[in-house]
Symmetry: D2
Subunit: 511 residues, 4 copies
């Protein structure tokens, strides 16, 4: 496994995905690591000077006089962790928790957190040894993900369950196996663990990854479907889209032209309509909107992966520590809600395309794309299935970020609900993969019925991959199973992977 060196300043999304999803290790940049000590010095000095520091020498039921006493610090940190590790099931995936730990660790290295060296090392060691705490997915309001990510602290202290080598075991057991001692709390490390939006940021980062892959997959399947329709691709032209100038639309149109290289759609055809339904003619504009929304989110995510959410934060160069609102992540949360709405448009568009493919009005093919041999009924009732899932999607695009109570003695009267917003969007993405899978079935079947048309360079690969897994519907068989196979084909990324393999052979690979 390779290693990403964290320094608090330039963690990229790609590196984060390597750590979270591909098991890469992390290392601490020495210069960044040294900032932790400097930051602690500032805090301790200020505390000695009499400054009240929440979570260190001040807090709920805190005994002021014992603020510097090691035993008292351990006990108070422990009380905080044990009373704040809450939330509700289900639990986050290992990928999600690895992303959380990597983000929190990187943010800590900026030097604004006053973390102990040992705490930073524990994040590193857990990541590198593959010990992944069980973190509830629900229960944070996204104004620091206090209740949920505190379970990571419980695990450091050996008091919670972790995922380790494919099993859920007590943290203490996994730590012993890796030679890591349970953590004895010190300083204000409990606060350092809790005061981060790393759950929301991790879910959002993984959402970005999944939504980007989905969008590309959807473009690919759309192109094959467009070949099934025998549509007019004039609207995909480079010059026509440059004239308009919308970035996402330009990107997606380019991608679609590439998928269709060499297709019969580039040639004239006597049966072709002048103007196709909008969801075909402008299919790439709708994924374009998704792409635009993703760019917005990525901009803010890059900032937040490399900036602190600690309150108070230390400014080591000034020898100062300031109260702040740097844990606010509402821009990111509403950005995610915008992305969900954009995905809602994609949901509508895919379904309207499938409805068109179901009847001879636009295709000139059979009703429900049934085989001409009469041995099967075609894809009639699939429509009920995607209609029902789209209704769920319509629900999932309703925003939640403004729904919260004022809590903690009326002090916490704002929230972003970022974790909920991201979880909803991830659910949407999964539902959309189901729809893309269905569209792949419609598209391949229409191409079959159209007999002998020349497909594009990449849509041909997509077609072959689909048909390798799911034969043409020309016999009386259970269609439900085809749907599940199609979902797997797109959800796993296999369909696009096949195209990428081809693309890599080229010099100017773009996929």
């Amino acid at each position: 496994m390779e290693t990403v060196i964290l320094n608090g300043h330039d963690l990229s999304l790609e590196e984060l995905y390597k750590i979270a999803c591909d098991g890469w290790r992390v290392a601490l940049d020495p210069e960044a690591f040294a900032r932790l000590a400097r930051s602690r010095e500032v805090m301790v000095e200020l505390a000695h000077g009499g400054k009240a520091i929440y979570g260190f020498n001040r807090g709920v039921g805190w005994n002021k006089d014992r603020g510097m006493d090691e035993a008292a610090l351990e006990l108070e940190n422990q009380k905080i962790i044990r009373s704040h590790a809450l939330g509700a099931p289900p639990y986050c995936s290992d990928k999600e928790v690895r992303a959380m730990m990597a983000i929190r660790l990187n943010q800590m290295l900026i030097g604004a957190s006053c973390a102990s060296d040992r705490l930073a090392e524990l994040y590193r060691d857990f990541l590198n040894c593959g010990i992944t705490p069980q973190v509830p997915r629900r229960g944070s309001v996204g104004e620091a993900d206090i209740t949920t990510i505190t379970h990571i602290g419980m695990a450091f202290a050996g008091e919670a369950d972790v995922s380790y080598r494919g099993q859920v075991v007590p943290a203490a057991q996994a730590m012993e196996a890796e030679g890591i001692s349970p953590y004895c709390w010190t300083l204000k490390d409990a606060h350092t663990v809790m005061l981060s939006n790393c759950q929301g940021e991790a879910l959002t980062a993984l959402l970005v990854r999944e939504a980007e892959a989905l969008t590309e997959m959807s473009d690919l399947v759309f192109c094959l479907d467009y070949e099934g329709l025998n549509g007019n691709i004039e609207a995909m032209r480079e010059d026509v889209n440059a004239l308009r100038g919308l970035p996402g639309q330009i990107t997606c149109a380019a991608r679609c032209r590439k998928f269709l290289e060499g297709s019969y759609l580039y040639e004239e055809h006597p049966d072709r309509a002048l103007q196709d339904p909008l969801t075909f003619r402008g299919g790439f504009t709708i994924t374009g909107t998704v792409a635009d929304a993703l760019e917005y989110i990525k901009g803010f995510l890059r900032i937040q992966l490399n900036s602190p959410s600690d309150n108070p934060c230390v400014m080591p160069d000034q020898g100062a520590l300031y109260v702040n609102s740097n844990f606010e992540t509402t821009t990111l949360a509403v950005g995610v809600e915008m992305l969900a709405i954009a995905l809602g448009h994609l949901s509508r568009a895919i379904n309207y395309r499938m409805i068109k493919m179901s009847g001879p009005q636009f295709t000139g093919l059979t009703r429900f794309l049934a085989p001409r041999n009469g041995k099967a009924l075609g894809y009639a009732q699939v429509q009920d299935t995607f209609s029902a899932i789209d209704a769920e999607n319509r629900l999932l695009i309703t925003p939640s970020s403004t729904d919260f109570f004022t809590v903690e003695g009326d002090i916490e009267d704002h929230a972003s609900n970022l974790p909920l917003a991201a979880a909803k969007a991830l659910h949407l993405v999964d539902n959309l993969y189901r729809m893309v899978g269905m569209e792949a079935l419609y598209a391949a079947q229409a191409v079959d019925l159209r007999e002998g048309v020349r497909l594009g360079r990449y849509t041909q690969i997509a077609y072959d991959t689909i048909r390798a897994a799911i034969p043409t519907m020309d016999e009386n068989r259970a269609i439900g199973r085809d749907l599940e196979k199609a979902y797997e084909l797109v959800r796993s990324g296999r369909l696009l992977e096949a195209c990428r393999t081809e693309d890599k052979a080229e010099q100017n690979a773009v996929l």
Copy 2:
């Protein structure tokens, strides 16, 4: 196990729950069973007379001339079943599927369906042998639950998986073990299997059961919490609520008075406020609204369990068969959506009560109900957890019933989304159990801090049951685990069961 005799006319909700949840068997009333034959005669006669009957001698790609040929009938039914069994995971619980089968069977016995005798027997035998088809939970638009419940037909033909003796096995295997032959389709039995709202009705029936139990549990915990507050119960008086006359409010106030029999709240107390916050003073009015909504749903559910949704329907006495819209279940769907909104109010109310219990302003007790010994921090961050779940609840009350596409060649241009509506409300109920569990923790802790107050006859039992499972929070321990235990205590019904046991000893048991 006992047996419910089905006749198509008087299946009650209570009987349905016995079949679905308690494993009761079913038997077919002979008179009702005889109606099936009469109904088939009418259909066959009409078909011979030249009448076009969708699903029998007419349909998608149907060969009109072969309408009466047994071999053709088998093939066409098979094609319908295999192409309509769709939907998407997750799968319904065994209870839910048992309720579906019982409902469909009972509706069939009305005699409007033209079902074969064998089909009715298969429903009966599957129920009685504990063979439960795997039915996807998603994929029906609730205008007959075509895509999902058709999996029951797949199982009858031995072509799908079933739950049997605690395992998921191929239907054929379970049927062989029970000596049941795979079904050979005839008549229009595929349509009879598909054309029912039994999924939506089953989910709604179980929702009613869960929501009623939740409401009572919530009233019980609310009463204990009110003792924790030392509140003024004047507003619960029988005469005061009779003056108003709202049925749900009257019922819930009566229940609360019973729970509190003998409580110190019935006596004067110097520290008691004149007017408590509305969520305490009127706690029973909010569960009252839930109770009102439940009555509405139950009225329509009782009708639908005993009336046919078949289209066309046979009217045996008239020797006629009519096209109809009797599969419309929109009233029930919007009723379920109203119930969800009412549950949304309960969600807000429970949380506002917990917020009040968290501070000394109304309780006069410690901050976050922390122990006076300073050994633990109290229930501070629980607020984030319930705030996050309430945000989810706020989403779940958004209606979905009007969100659908026009499908099937533009013929199916209305839908109710009843299964989705019911699934959302079931999710809400589960989330609310989590909140009720949390309120139980607050309530018991407040009672502890209040020291020595006399509880009501049933709230004392509730208190004792809570404390038997979860000790007073007076030490430094992981509160997250207490939350899980409290959820189990209410979700399982144990807390209320303890009260019922006491109540049954009485002559006038009301709980």
Copy 3:
């Protein structure tokens, strides 16, 4: 003008509409009026005995010792009224405010309010003299409509504007013209004015009236449209709907059969489809769902018009006064939200019908129902208009009743938002009238294109009334104006009125 005698016990919706919309006068039943005095006696006696009564001898900044002093009472009442009359524009219609005053007055006569005689007389006199206070439509959270209805009290004191003889004038001016002196506050009359849900109840009562009229109008236009389609009305049969047993569906099917008496749809026709799209075949089931929801609301409304929302309430027979939650109106609020969802279904259904009428696929007529002479393009873009309004309707069915803050020093932590819920539903009804107007255009045009078909007894009247206002579209003219005329025709009720006139001639009038 005729007079309704109010006694606090049996005010019907029909009487309320007479007072609110038709200018009927009110009189106070002497026995009921006498209850006011008894109720005051009880309160004063209790206060002398030392009982704390909010709004009388207790309250914000209230000087306890001056509780019985007339001058102090006037001042304190005045301060309450002046600081509670808030809210935000726009203002309620005169009908709405008349309904509010009639409801509040009737509820007062139950004898639970401790109102002064003069206060009751002021409500009566304002109603009978046509003096209607300007009440803001927004600003109440529906937990007593405190901020808005307090403007009625401002008007009684001559301190606000009123609508009088068609103009907005200062209350003092109108009162002087009618010989009414400005009110000098006494007792706890400010509370009596404020502590009522009469705004929400009045809006809901008028909503019921409008929604019922809309539903009937929609059924009429649907029937004409069904004749335009040449559809199959088998599903409307009495026996078929009785078999199902859903009350709203039975009512609306009966109404439709009546509208279509004698229509060619009752005869066989070679071109008729076996199964029409669901929105035609089951048009009456969707209005049936609206009718079911209306029954639910009416049941609770009848209770609330004749029961008190005062807190505390006097129980004169017991000589007691109790704190209560009788101002809770959440059941009604969620009922209104259910009605809105049902109306959302109607919105979808009307539009799907118009989409079907726009193309030859189902009608066999021209595209967009354009005249065959080619002189006009038909109703193409009307679809964008109703699609845009339906999007607004989709928004309006989203519930609001659970959205509120905890206010008034954390005491008021529940709300129903009934006024907002009702205002949204009224907006929906108006939007639906617009759609029904459009459907009337489609229907009449299709009948014209179908040439010479025999219409039903009442649909013929509807057709004639439409065509008297808007000629057949067979020339190049501005269609936008036809839309406005059609809206007026249905919104004003004229189209249905024409049918009723015919119906009244019969012995068994049902419309």
Copy 4:
């Protein structure tokens, strides 16, 4: 009046506001104007070559052979205009329609539209003569605002009403007064009028302007309110926010520091809390999120003001004409929906601040900020008013962009609902102004009660301006009127204008 020269390429938002709101005139850049002729030549040449061009020699009921005949062209254009000018009241404001005309005209000058010279001149002349067509606000689905903006074409032909010199008059009358002849349609000018998103873009442009002004106003009032609270402004520090790096937050924090220059909040104070409620401590982060969302929208708006939405579009340099999807504006629509959600956060935040200001818990001042002389009750019930308006706001942030039907013979199966999205957000902005007005009352009253504190340089001006219009609440008067005055003060911009006047005197004016 000054003039903006339009050339299709660099129309800025600021110039658009000058034209729309300040009555500036427009002129046509000669080079751009010449592009119209070149564009027409290309189209006519292609048509002669046999190319089918929708709206020119093809269309609904179009007589192909008469495609080039002037009389036929006039008639066909007229039929299109008369049948497409639809929609529903209310009508757009003059500002909005002026913005629409300026946008459409500028987009036309790109040369992709094939407009006649006369058509371009009519837009110019109407703008310059102050003739403003009556355009319905509702009825477009935002996929070109066909139904609504076609009323502009009706006016050009003298067939509709316009706003002219403060009155609504027939277009023909205003045109005659200005010496403009009614337009005789030619070429495909009807399509050129219709095929634009200029309504949605105009509403969005004005929304941006209003939302930016609101955000700044809100920051100003928040700062005064923070002085009323005696809060801790450490979190506003430049370095602290630079450390985080979020652009909107940085901008708004800078603005707040400026407003507070010289305030007592910059000095230490013994009574000040360490950590204020989040809505105070991070007030600028919430307006920061609004600012971030506005930047996103502005980026796309700038592109769209200067790019064509015509379909087909002419590419004059290539001598070609292409079908396209350049009328898609979904990115902008979902951007507006994100802005609405951000405004929803602002709504919650302002209200939570006012709730805090209502009680002594955080302020140490009187309950409801009542005067200490006891002569008035303070701002108690204002809370109900803003709670009710916030419930409306919660509704308005629910997205609508995905709610549409598939229309026009199933061709138009996607929509953006941009006009509805923008109209909802404009409504939100107005509601928020009401809340900002209320917060101004709370803030000024708290400052009064705090007696003698030194305000910031600009908050002092704000305070003085408020108090010049609305005296301190220290007597028994109608508070409702104060609310209306406060609303006017902020809605009109006067409060901020007073600060700007001061600021302009400086060298580095930033406001």
